[in-house]
């Protein structure tokens, strides 16, 4: 995907083109994959990537190559967070399957040391709860995606969603509790 296209879509997003966000996603995704491919070419396939670092790297790449006029960082991170969520969940699923040989186990958080939950399961549990939250409150879910998978600060999230910092603080706090309650209910059943 040429940078031109991505730049164009980001520009459209910056100008409030509503369809741009859904169009943005595959483009940013492509960009992330391209970066990953570049690492493989350099023989770095086993080096661990920090997800947020990857997103930031993609961003830098974009601003270097693209038209400098657009400064729409927020929209980029919106799409990148969604893309990172997909990548991380896929990876976590794969690894979880490898370790457990199949289905996701039910675990009782009340009884279990949280530390004993593998990182993969931990992330998958959050993702499951997040999917439920999306049905319940899409706005809060968006905040969670941006915060948790996109590594954005509350201020950045507020900027992206066009709300106040305070609203984001409240949504994030409420979402965490709601999701945690969901996870606890699920796992204790």
């Amino acid at each position: 995907m040429p940078f031109d296209d991505l730049t164009r879509v980001l520009n459209a997003a910056a100008h409030g083109e509503p369809s741009a966000s859904s169009e943005l996603f595959p483009l940013v995704y492509d960009e992330l994959r391209k970066l990953a491919a570049l690492r493989l070419q350099r023989g770095l396939q086993n080096q661990t990537l920090q997800p947020t670092a990857l997103v930031h790297e993609a961003w830098l790449q974009l601003t270097r190559a693209g038209d400098r006029k657009w400064q729409n960082r927020a929209h980029f991170f919106g799409a990148a967070a969604a893309a990172m969520r997909q990548i991380m969940i896929e990876v976590a699923r794969k690894k979880s399957r490898l370790k457990r040989g199949g289905s996701l186990i039910r675990l009782n958080i009340e009884d279990m040391e949280i530390a004993a939950v593998t990182p993969e399961d931990h992330v998958l549990l959050i993702d499951e709860a997040l999917t439920k939250l999306e049905a319940e409150s899409p706005e809060e879910a968006r905040v969670v995606v941006l915060k948790f998978f996109g590594g954005l600060t509350n201020g950045e999230v507020a900027e992206f969603l066009g709300t106040s910092r305070r609203t984001v603080d409240r949504q994030w706090a409420a979402a965490k509790v709601w999701m945690f309650q969901q996870i606890r209910r699920e796992t204790s059943n």
Partner: protein, 749 residues
């Protein structure tokens, strides 16, 4: 208080939870919970649960963030994950399952196109166009319907057919079109090494398809090779034009993007716009934009290049691009090929079955000028119609002289002068478009939150859209008539144009720019025949459409409108027009515009309210004149200012403005006559009857002569038809005041 039995809402629980969690002191928190939850124990319990879970949640998410880091994602992982396209259209089910969606083949600003399989009435593959999720506002649905109607009206072998239309189970309108399997026209030509003649023959067919669309009132707006596919039928190449309509924005040429993105928002939600903003969209594009695009296509077919290469265009950013398109003449096709380097030059020529010198000599001359005429910056200089372009290409193929000619020096100079206005107007339009785009998307964001309610709303809208089908059909037909009328008018066939427009019951709500020339020509035609009310109707429609055109054009149309309404004796209509004109131009700082509007509002005596309304215009003109050297004042400013003073009762000043000018021998007669009439009326009031009568008679003879035998179109320096009509209105007023006949039978003839 009775405890409510229903489950407390999530919002309520959350609000109280958030309030409580900000109160660390246990006693304060309890008091707060008591007051907030009252007797609602269920609510209280839910809030307490949430509060109890808070510490665990914080911990869980903190560990979650660590867990993310410990996932140890590698480049290989990222690469291995296949991106899932966002689930956009999961709910897309066509009623009774007559279509099976196979794959997405295209996406525009408002619509998505799928390849689909139809079972009944016959099994075939079709292209299915559906409004995109989230874009289904009332107006988009209406426009989508309009596009479908327009497409249904079209029946041409070179245009993809519409088979049928309907609504999806969630209420989104769709239509099924002929699925065109073919390759881009440019690729087809290159792959088959078509020579220039064969390329031109294909191109002529494309022109005919576009002409057909224009005659049905449809503007394509996005003509480019990927929208013109060549298929083979019985071994014969047939170009097919696909993808008509407004919904094509995002996929448009990169060079069009910002305009169209903005534009897309425009047409996206007119419900939120004032009428004059909506007009910008109409002004942006008319059939002549399609002519330009055809010119670009022809350019590319002939030379393998577009007039301005995308990369070059965007090097300097958006402003640079706009300037290039507005100011820079593209290279002539023959010059482009001449400038190509060795290999590429050979390749381009070879694909056209020629060597480079041959190709250059083929292009030089007629083909150069045909292309350049289609690519004129000023759309008035382009071919009037796609047919005109096709005919000229045909003339070239038949070795007949072509219409297109190299531009003269005079013309080039005029263009230079005109261009600055273009830059100005374009900047304004884009800025406005962007601002509106932003606010609309904010509104849409909030709207998106109420998704459930929207679903039902949506179904209602779709039903309404279907109910208004007949209205839309009538509008589409009206647009077709108007386009036809514009063609007739441009060919000088005004009677026919007028007849076509009579049939148009109501003017369509958003007519094309073609309507401008049709309305203007037919309006003038009616006026010169003395059909004032009819003329008034056309000019009122005209000033509504052309608002964002060049001020010069706009204010002249206002002048025409004012005189015909004043002549029509429809006092109420004139009064309404006067109010609108005064309000619309009260802020202008362009003295020429101000004076024209002022004049056209003064054909009848005015009351105190009107004086107030017109004062900004009068002051603007007066102050401007006061600041000038008398020698440099445009003669045409004198009538408005002096008439203004006269209407305000300031006879002395009115008289003073005119007095000097009465003896100016260079004064155009249509300018001098009304001054004489003003002077005559002032003299009459002062009791100087003989001077009044002398001036009156001089003016009367000049004015009446213009209407014998028939009023002519006129010219800007000597006086246009509307100037003379205006003069005659004043003449009647003066005749009344002086008690003299406004007309005397011609003697001695």
């Amino acid at each position: 208080m009775q405890p409510p039995s229903s489950e407390p809402s999530r919002e309520l629980v959350q609000a109280i939870f958030l309030g409580a969690s900000s109160l660390p002191d246990p006693a304060t928190r309890r008091a707060y919970l008591q007051s907030a939850c009252g007797n609602n124990l269920q609510l209280r319990a839910r809030v307490e649960d949430a509060l109890a879970a808070q510490a665990g949640a914080e911990d869980f998410f903190a560990r979650g963030a660590q867990a993310l880091g410990r996932l140890e994602i590698t480049g290989a992982d990222v690469k291995a994950v296949e991106p899932k396209a966002p689930a956009l259209d999961e709910d897309l089910k066509i009623e009774d399952g007559r279509f099976k969606l196979l794959q997405k083949i295209g996406e525009g600003g408002c619509g998505v196109v799928y390849m689909a399989e139809q079972e009944k009435p016959i099994r075939r593959r079709v292209a299915l166009k559906v409004i995109k999720l989230g874009m289904d506002t009332k107006s988009v649905i209406a426009r989508f319907e309009a596009e479908r109607q327009a497409l249904a009206l079209m029946d041409h072998p070179n245009i993809a057919h519409v088979f049928e239309a309907g609504t999806t189970s969630t209420g989104r309108p769709y239509f099924a079109m002929e699925l065109v399997k073919g390759i881009r026209i440019t690729d087809y030509c290159d792959q088959n090494q078509l020579d220039t003649r064969e390329r031109l023959e294909l191109f002529i067919q494309v022109c005919h398809a576009i002409q057909h669309a224009h005659q049905k009132g449809v503007i394509h707006r996005d003509i480019k090779p990927s929208n013109i596919l060549v298929t083979l039928r019985d071994g014969v190449a047939v170009p097919k034009v696909i993808d008509f309509g407004i919904a094509k924005a995002i996929q448009g040429k990169l060079t069009d993007q910002t305009f169209f993105t903005a534009y897309e928002n425009f047409i996206g939600t007119p419900a939120y716009m004032s009428p004059e903003q909506a007009v910008i969209s109409a002004v942006d594009v008319d059939t002549r934009s399609d002519i330009y695009s055809l010119g670009v296509l022809l350019y590319e077919l002939l030379t393998g290049r577009t007039p301005f290469e995308t990369n070059e265009l965007f090097k300097g950013g958006f402003d640079e691009w706009r300037r290039t398109l507005l100011d820079q003449e593209p290279q002539r096709p023959s010059a482009v090929v001449t400038a190509l380097q060795g290999n590429e030059r050979q390749m381009i020529a070879g694909q056209r079955q020629a060597d480079a010198p041959q190709l250059i000599s083929i292009l030089k001359g007629d083909l150069d000028w045909i292309v350049m005429k289609a690519l004129e910056k000023d759309r008035q200089r382009r071919y009037e119609t796609a047919n005109g372009l096709a005919m000229d290409v045909g003339r070239y193929l038949h070795c007949e002289p072509v219409v297109a000619r190299p531009p003269s020096r005079v013309y080039r100079f005029q263009k230079l002068a005109r261009r600055n206005w273009g830059v100005f107007a374009a900047t304004g339009a884009v800025a406005a478009a962007l601002i509106i785009g932003l606010s609309i998307s904010t509104v849409m964001f909030f709207k998106a939150r109420e998704s459930e309610r929207r679903q039902t709303e949506l179904r209602k809208l779709a039903e309404q859209a279907q109910a208004s089908e007949s209205v839309l059909r009538r509008e589409a037909e009206a647009r077709a008539k108007i386009t036809e009328a514009a063609l007739s008018a441009s060919q000088g066939n005004l009677n026919q144009a007028a007849n076509l427009l009579v049939d148009v019951a109501a003017f369509p709500s958003n007519p094309s720019l073609d309507a401008v020339s049709a309305f203007r020509s037919v309006g003038e035609f009616s006026a010169r025949q003395g059909q004032w009310r009819t003329a008034g109707q056309y000019f009122l429609a005209l000033i509504d459409i052309d608002k964002f055109d060049d001020w010069d054009v706009v204010t002249l149309d206002y002048q025409s409108c004012g005189v015909v309404l004043a002549e029509s004796k429809d006092i109420a209509a004139y009064e309404k027009f006067r109010k609108m004109a005064a309000a619309g131009f009260s802020n202008t700082t362009n003295v020429d515009a101000a004076s024209r509007i002022l004049k056209t509002c003064l054909f009848q005596p005015i009351n105190d309210d009107t004086v107030k309304e017109l004062k900004p215009l009068g002051d603007e003109v007066e102050q401007w004149i006061a600041a000038q050297d008398t020698q440099t004042i445009n003669d045409w400013l004198i009538i408005p200012i002096s008439l203004w003073k006269f209407r305000c009762g300031d006879n002395d000043t009115a008289f003073d403005y005119c007095r000097e000018k009465l003896y100016d021998k260079t004064m155009p007669p249509s300018c001098l006559a009304p001054m004489r009439l003003i002077v005559a009326m002032v003299c009459q009031q002062r009791g100087n009857t003989s001077a009044a009568q002398a001036q009156f008679v001089l003016a009367r003879d000049v004015i009446n002569a213009q209407f014998r035998p028939q009023l002519q179109h006129g010219n800007r320096s000597g006086g246009m038809w509307y100037d003379w009509v205006a003069d005659r209105i004043l003449l009647r007023e003066a005749a009344d005041k002086l008690g003299m006949p406004a007309e005397i039978p011609e003697s001695g003839k």
